[in-house]
């Protein structure tokens, strides 16, 4: 695996990826890095890591970006035990021993083994992935606390005054192990995504029945061309619902008050008046990687329907949230380029590139609190996969309290909600969540759920 050309290529990809994460690296540094590899060789991965960090980075803060990216391009030799994967109990035994000995190198290898054995989910090539959450749920390293403590004590590794420090020490080691597991899962997910891009070119049935998540580029382009006709159809349906609503229902209180003059006999039913203004719509769209096809399409569709509402505001997020209403309006002529424009012009990522619903929704609830009011219907678009981050349920609760309605459209099939790092069930308890895998499902939902 280590031909000279292969190494050069990996170094270039590593540098490209660091730049994409905002680390400024010039050609000079890349040349130095290549020389460092020449001087250090490839035999010792940790020396290589330090050597590349020394030549490519310029500040302490960049290291936390560098390490996971390095892990991705220069993975640990995927050794693991030969034969079948270790059982849970066996792995816990070895983990306990490594924690007691505080053997960092061994803990790193065990983290890789743990993700390999317990972090995988899904059964089809399009949908499987790696989850640190699931790995840790199965392995439950925190429950080894007492055992590790006793083991250290039994070995005479802690007594007297310092014995009071032991529990916190073990806790810190367990936390460090959790971080290692998270890093390993992230590495594998990223590794897969590359392969998935290729896997996604498979052919599928008509565009409006293709899962957004697995639709290739061509399919998505095809879908975009159906936005305008679909919007016209939906506008007609919405108009029908609006007329129906306008006819209104009987206002019982006012009918009774009116009936006082007729001796309490309700002669003239009073109809509720139609709401004076058209409703407002807010869209919160996860535009990261695989769900961006779904979000793009929905944004375009809502934009095409905008004159049905008094106000439409659209926000995009990955792990930070930014308003893109303007980008959407100005770009009506170029629906193809919408995704790229959002990526380029909106502030939707912080230090890393993976979705963080908790952060993004929290930021919305804080910065754009007044975007959602009693006349607003909010749609959240996304798969609710938080990459192990805190889902921040209070933020969603806050949005739901302010808005008239909140709906969540999830492009994943319902049976996968809650698997791996999906926190869909938790969100679904707070707001109405609908499966929305295809354009066909989406138009049915829009026709039914959009406020009139």
């Amino acid at each position: 695996m280590t031909t000279a050309a292969g190494v050069a290529e990996r170094l270039t990809s590593l540098v490209g990826s660091l730049r994409a994460h905002g680390v400024r690296i010039g050609t000079g540094e890349t040349v130095d890095a290549a020389r460092a590899i020449g001087e250090l060789g490839l035999a010792d991965r940790e020396l290589l890591r330090e050597g590349l960090a020394a030549t490519l980075l310029h500040g302490t803060g960049q290291r936390q970006v560098f390490d996971p990216v390095f892990d991705l391009y220069f993975p640990r030799g995927v050794g693991g035990p030969e034969g079948q994967p270790a059982g849970r109990q066996d792995l816990r035994e070895r983990l306990a021993a490594a924690l007691a000995a505080d053997d960092r190198a061994l803990l790193g290898r065990l983290a890789a083994e743990a993700v390999d054995g317990f972090g995988g989910y899904g059964s089809s090539p399009e949908s499987d992935g790696w989850s640190s959450y699931q790995t840790l749920e199965r392995l439950r390293p925190q429950t080894l606390m007492a055992r590790v403590r006793d083991e250290v004590r039994a070995r005479g590794g802690s007594s007297g005054f310092t014995d009071r420090l032991l529990e916190d020490e073990v806790r810190r080691r367990i936390d460090a192990f959790r971080t290692l597991v998270a890093a390993e899962a992230r590495r594998r997910v990223a590794e897969r995504r590359g392969r998935d891009e290729i896997a996604r070119r498979a052919v599928a049935p008509t565009a409006d029945r293709v899962d957004f998540l697995f639709a290739g580029k061509d399919r998505l382009a095809e879908l975009r061309r159906t936005v305008q006709p679909l919007a016209r159809k939906l506008a007609t349906r919405l108009a029908a619902r609006r007329r129906h609503a306008a006819r209104g229902s009987i206002d019982l209180r006012r009918t009774l008050r009116g009936s006082l003059s007729t001796g309490g006999v309700p002669m003239k039913p009073v109809l509720r008046r139609r709401r004076p203004a058209r409703p407002e719509l807010v869209l919160l769209c996860d535009v990261s990687g695989s769900v961006s096809g779904f979000s793009d399409f929905t944004m375009l569709l809502v934009q095409a329907l905008h004159d049905q509402f008094s106000k439409v505001r659209v926000f995009a997020f990955v792990n930070r949230i930014d308003e893109v209403t303007g980008l959407l309006e100005h770009g009506r002529a170029d629906p193809e380029g919408l995704g790229a424009r959002i990526q380029a012009e909106a502030e939707i990522t912080g230090w890393h590139g993976s979705s963080d619903y908790g952060m993004a929704l929290g930021e919305f609830a804080e910065r754009y609190a007044d975007a959602a009011g009693p006349r607003t219907t909010v749609f959240v678009l996304g798969d609710a996969r938080t990459n192990g981050g805190d889902p921040n349920l209070p933020a969603v609760r806050r949005i739901a309290e302010r808005a008239r309605r909140v709906y969540w459209l999830n492009p994943e099939q319902r049976s996968r909600w809650g698997t791996g790092d999906s926190v869909a069930p938790a969100y679904a308890e707070l707001v109405e969540m609908h499966e929305c895998r295809t354009a066909r499902q989406l138009s049915a939902l829009v026709a039914r759920l959009l406020p009139v």
């Binding site: 001087e39 020394a54 310029h58």
Partner: protein, 285 residues
């Protein structure tokens, strides 16, 4: 200078400096690539000590530019010895001005400062630019010039180019961000607090009289303090001071009384002492 990363570790250890793998690797590369080394990290983790150790290993002279607010070219690079020049002028009354001028702007009247000293002469040198972040931004321009070409122009004497480049170490506490341009010239090394095992070895090396078990306890307590949310957590320098103190007191093991009596060696703020005492259950007696 070094044959391998292990060679760096081994030879630094002989001088009394115990390098982490990151430190050894970066020193090795700085030597091989011929680039200055920028070392950042909290106070007391051995940044300055590293430069001294490298000098010792290399059999090189240590030339140190200590930076501070207001340090300028005349302190960093060179200066003319005005007093001596005046004496010379008044002594040579029957010379022409041209002769006098040539004479007073010669080597004899030049006061070389660290940056110039470091690039002159053929003997091996380690140039330590210590606490670079304390200097004003203008000095960075000067450093950049010297570290790019390793030459200095003295108008009256001409351009002086290094015949032998020094090994350069810049240290910083990051009290101020150094410029991007300066950073780009350097290999970057962050030294943080050492891992437990390394710190134990440092303590054992620096305080030889301390027994293994006590050294271990010392490092564990320091580790616990670093995990607390304190205004200033103890660094390696404080760990060593504490070990010395315990040795001087003849403490064989740690107990509440000894720790309470000596906590001030580790922590410099009174509120840190109070907080740590509570967390370490020192008041339980």
């Amino acid at each position: 200078m070094f044959t391998s990363v292990d060679d760096v570790s081994a030879r630094l250890a002989e001088t009394g400096y115990l390098a982490s793998p990151a430190v050894a690797t970066t020193v090795f590369l700085a030597d091989r690539l011929g680039k200055p080394l920028l070392v950042e990290g909290p106070a007391g983790v051995g940044k300055t000590e590293l430069a001294k150790a490298v000098a010792q290993v290399a059999g090189a002279r240590l030339v140190r530019l200590q930076c501070y607010e207001g340090v300028d070219e005349s302190r960093a690079l060179y200066e003319w010895n005005h007093a001596k020049q005046l004496l010379r002028i008044s002594a040579g009354r029957d010379e022409t001005w041209d002769e006098t001028r040539t004479d007073i702007f010669s080597e004899e009247f030049l006061l070389t400062r660290p940056l110039l000293t470091a690039i002159r002469g053929d003997d091996p040198k380690v140039l330590l630019i210590d606490e670079t972040d304390k200097a004003d931004v203008e000095v960075e321009g000067l450093l950049l010039e010297v570290l790019s070409d390793f030459q200095v122009t003295v108008p009256e004497l001409g351009t002086i180019t290094a015949t032998r480049r020094p090994f350069v170490v810049l240290t910083s506490n990051a009290s101020r961000e150094l410029s991007e341009a300066l950073r780009r010239r350097c290999l970057f090394l962050h030294i943080g607090f050492p891992e437990e095992e390394l710190e134990r070895r440092i303590v054992r090396l620096k305080v030889p009289g301390l027994d293994e078990a006590l050294a271990r306890s010392v490092v564990r307590v320091v580790g616990a303090l670093r995990a607390m949310d304190l205004r200033k957590v103890p660094s390696v320098a404080e760990t060593i001071d504490w070990a010395h103190t315990l040795l001087a007191l003849g403490a064989g093991t740690l107990d509440e009384t000894v720790v309470r009596a000596t906590l001030g060696v580790l922590l410099k703020h009174q509120d840190d002492v109070l907080k740590a005492s509570a967390k370490l259950d020192l008041d339980a007696l």
